[in-house]
């Protein structure tokens, strides 16, 4: 059963790969990478059970935590052509709500 789930997730990854290669917009590619990442996280979780190594869940956790950093960088790259500007004003201490 777990194996079937893993295969289904891999099929989903393959579909994402098709979308990634096909585009047509760059945003479609970003979306595909993003979704591919989510599926990889799920696959790693499932796979941890399949091979009986809970360590794989740590890797999934890492991706779940950090995959969106790349997306934010891509957003900045697209919109501002630079990585070093601020997206948001710093709220100094004392601005607490």
């Amino acid at each position: 059963m777990i194996f079937t789930a893993a295969l289904l997730l891999m099929a989903g990854m393959t579909l994402m790969l098709v979308r990634l290669l096909r585009g047509p917009e760059l945003y479609d590619r970003v979306l595909a990478v993003n979704s591919f990442g989510t599926k990889t996280v799920l696959f790693l979780c499932v796979f941890a059970f399949l091979i009986g190594r809970p360590d794989a869940v740590d890797i999934a956790l890492l991706y779940a935590l950090m995959n969106f950093i790349a997306t934010i960088a891509i957003l900045k790259f697209f919109r501002y052509r630079t990585l070093d500007i601020a997206l948001s004003k710093m709220q100094r201490r004392g601005d607490h709500t």
Binding site: M1, I2, T4, A5, A6, L8, L9, A11, G12, M13, L15, M16, V18, R19, R22, P24, E25, Y27, D28, V30, L31, A32, N34, S35, T38, K39, V41, L42, C45, V46, A48, F49, P54, V57, D58, A60, L61, A64, L65, N67, F68, T71, I72, I74, L75, F78, R79
Partner: protein, 122 residues
Amino acid sequence: MSEFLQALDIIRPYVAGAVLILGAVIVFLGASGVLRLPDFYSRLHAAGVTDTLGTLLVLLGLILFSGFTLLSAKLALVGMFLLLTSPTATHAVANAAHKSGLKPLLGTWRSQPPKDEPGNNT
């Protein structure tokens, strides 16, 4: 009472497997939606299916498998972080597309009735 709990324990793997498979199927459906839908903005919604219900069910199934363990707690953390970060990432992509002037498809859109090859409509 304990018999009931025992019965629960016996059916638990089956329930877990069913939930897991359902989740994986939903992930797959979401992925096929990303291929099938006509434009970038509508594909976001299909990806959202994977990100939300698919994620929840797959992780729930795995949690049911492992029972009340530390691994379950970690899986729950994976779910929490995914539910926190994936809509953020989706928002970021949508925002970038919108700001750069990518026009969404509006009005009414129908897939061509005679043919539904997934993904031939881009």
